[in-house]
């Protein structure tokens, strides 16, 4: 589904990703952990198509085609979804209207008829249940004045609406209380299938109790320096990153 080979990317002349290799297959869940500033959000932004980053070398294949040939909207329509670490506030655009535009443009891309207002509302109500989000919230301006937790929940709601093939969840767990964490994790698990895959970026092993990963990667200083199974997350929780930093002091 996703093949990242030796990806290097920089911003304003500063190299952030220094050769990333990662392969994600359908049905898998990958966790990416790593110290602050190691490049986790940069990786997700580059995959989602943020134009501010320059891709200096390497390749990324998404569902068999070169991802860099696609605009951000084309990637989304093909089935890539990024839950933002810091969801953006958009005054004057309600989540409902925003989602209707998104769903219909994605459906158009996939050769499906547009949903009318009634059909859309029906789908929306269904998906709202998955993340237990309130309709009143969805009528308000997108993320404007939402609490941290509400913003994160809204990201997962959007994921439920768009039915992506590959979801990248960038610290969706931070800022969530323990109940919300379970709801969000449960939402992610409900949407999981053999055809789609998930990359979970997190600082806390706790989330991985709920969303159980097949692989855990450590991203440090722009490279994936270690890959293991879910036990690696426990180890990191216990020991922190110093030992990893020490191993890679010369990187």
């Amino acid at each position: 589904m996703l093949k990242v080979k030796n990806l290097k990317a920089s911003i304003e002349g500063k190299e952030i990703l220094k050769g990333i290799n990662l392969e994600v297959k359908p049905g898998e869940v990958h966790a990416i952990m790593g110290p602050n500033g190691s490049g986790k959000s940069t990786l997700s932004a580059v995959l989602a198509g943020r134009e501010e980053y320059s891709v200096d070398s390497g390749t990324v294949e998404f569902l068999g085609s070169d991802i860099f040939d696609l605009s951000p909207e084309e990637r989304a329509r093909e089935g890539l979804f990024l839950a933002f670490q810091y969801p953006i506030e958009i005054p004057g655009v309600s989540t409902t209207n925003f989602m209707r535009a998104a769903v219909n443009q994605i459906r158009e891309h996939r050769g499906l008829p547009k949903l009318d207002a009634v059909q859309f509302l029906k789908v929306m109500k269904e998906r709202m249940k998955i993340v237990d989000i309130d309709q009143a919230l969805l009528k308000r301006s997108l993320n404007e004045g939402f609490s941290g937790g509400e913003k994160k929940r809204n990201e997962i709601f959007q994921m439920a609406m768009l039915e992506p093939k590959l979801s990248i969840l960038d610290e969706t767990d931070s800022g969530l209380d323990i109940d919300a964490l379970k709801i969000v994790a449960n939402g992610v698990n409900t949407l999981r299938s053999a055809d789609n895959a998930t990359i979970v970026i997190t600082h806390y092993q706790r989330l991985l109790d709920f969303i159980v990963p097949d692989f855990v990667h450590v991203l440090y200083n722009g490279q994936i320096v270690k890959t293991g199974t879910k036990e690696l997350a426990y180890e990191l929780e216990e020991r922190g990153y110093d030992w990893i930093k020490a191993e890679h002091a010369n990187v």
Binding site: G49, E52, E73, G92, V93
Partner: protein, 416 residues
């Protein structure tokens, strides 16, 4: 060409005698002063007299229309008065005036017209008065509650020849009256035209009037509008000024809060493209205590268009306990578009809450990316953001027909 020749051409020969006093007084002053040049601080960025001089040398007067104007007229209300080149057209107008509204010629209010002529009056207002031979007065009766808006449609028709129009409207809202009045300015024809409108609005005590000015003029139209408003005690006045184009447009909106506990809300939106030039000058004059004013003007500018916003707030010495807020925001869609914004606050009282702010920027990249990352195409994402941005102003139009009409023009304009 001599200035006096130009003025002679712009001033139309009078047909009626009711205004001879005002007309002569205004002519004398304007001939002495001339039209404002770039040296005039108030018109520094909007040098209309140069264009007028260059283009109206051969001006031969208005002729009858070559085309059927009825096709231009949108259906916005039960009460639509249509003016062609400043003159009310009975044929194109349609109205069943509700109880509480009377319409008469402005001749009955000639004293008010005379009062406007002074050494300090705006030059274009004087020019309008110099040409005055007709106009209308709309009276809204005491305590009348008028649900549907009264819509005045001004068509400046230059289909046969260059055209000059000097529309003149007087609106009197009596005590506790409530009404919405809209003025729509459009054009017809490819020759250059000049619309020089004057609208005066008197809001009596406890009245609540909304005034909406919609400018949707074409690239051959020059426009100056002087809107002068007097607000008495406990009255609320809402002004909305939206502009979607014109070769060179200047709106002077002047509001005097003359009675205590009165309130003025000024909203504005200008959407410009190509070489359009839109200049909004507003004045809110707090003369008495306990009044509020709120002002929000927003611009979306594309091409190599030019915008000017100049907002003056005066808080006179007597005007204690004043709240006055002003904000001007702009989105520049092109590197060649420019905005010149200037707040001017002059405060003589001391118990005053007053603030102003202005922002100018491009479309927010983060917002655009967020929408695109959900599968929304770049173009529709831009439209969505601009629509939301403009709607903060437009949604304040309470009448649904008018609001939808403005939204539709907005959509065509930003979808180019």
């Amino acid at each position: 060409m001599e200035m006096s020749d130009l003025l002679q051409r712009l001033i139309k020969a009078p047909e009626s005698d009711s205004f001879s006093t005002a007309r002569e007084a205004a002519s004398t002053i304007i001939k002495e002063r001339g039209l404002p040049s770039r040296k005039n601080e108030e018109y520094k960025y909007t040098n209309l007299s140069k264009i007028l001089e260059r283009n109206f040398g051969e001006f031969g007067g208005n002729e009858e229309s070559a085309t059927d104007l009825s096709a231009l007229i949108p259906d916005l209300s039960d009460n639509q008065l249509v003016f062609v080149n400043g003159i009310l057209s009975e044929e194109l107008s349609s109205y069943k005036l509700p109880e509480g509204i009377t319409i008469s010629t402005i001749e009955e209010s000639k004293e008010l017209v005379e009062q406007d002529v002074g050494a300090k009056s705006d030059e274009f207002l004087l020019l309008n008065t110099s040409s005055l031979n007709t106009g209308i007065t709309i009276n809204i009766a005491k305590s009348a509650l008028i649900e549907k808006p009264i819509v005045l449609i001004h068509i400046t028709d230059s289909s046969k020849n260059q055209a000059v129009a000097h529309p003149r409207v007087l609106i009197n809202g009596a005590e506790s009256a409530q009404a919405t009045i809209a003025e729509l300015f459009i054009g017809n024809g490819d020759a250059l035209s000049f619309t020089n409108a004057v609208t005066e609005i008197n809001c009596a005590a406890s009245s609540n009037l909304s005034y909406i000015k919609i400018g949707n003029e074409n690239g051959n139209q020059l426009h100056v509008g002087n809107t002068q408003v007097n607000v008495a005690e406990k009255a609320i006045f809402n002004a909305m000024t939206v502009n979607f184009g014109g070769k060179m447009v200047r709106n002077n909106l002047q509001i005097s809060l003359n009675g205590s506990h009165s309130e003025a809300n000024l909203d504005g939106l200008y959407v410009t493209d190509n070489k359009e030039h839109i200049d909004n000058h507003t004045v809110v004059d707090h003369k008495v205590p306990n009044c509020n004013s709120n002002e929000l003007y927003k611009g979306i500018m594309n091409g190599s268009s030019k915008g000017i916003f100049n907002g003056k707030i005066y808080v006179r010495q007597d005007a204690q306990v004043t709240n006055a807020f002003q904000s001007n925001k702009n989105i520049l869609l092109s590197d060649n578009a420019t905005i010149n914004t200037k707040p001017q606050l002059e405060i003589w009282a001391d118990d005053v809450k007053c603030s102003h702010g202005c922002t100018t920027g491009k479309l927010d990249k983060e917002q655009l990316f967020y929408l695109r990352a959900r599968g929304i195409g770049e173009h529709s994402a831009k439209l969505m953001l601009l629509d939301a941005y403009a709607n903060e102003v437009i949604e304040r139009i309470k009448d649904e027909n008018l609001r939808t009409y403005v939204q539709e023009i907005l959509h065509t304009k930003i979808d180019e």
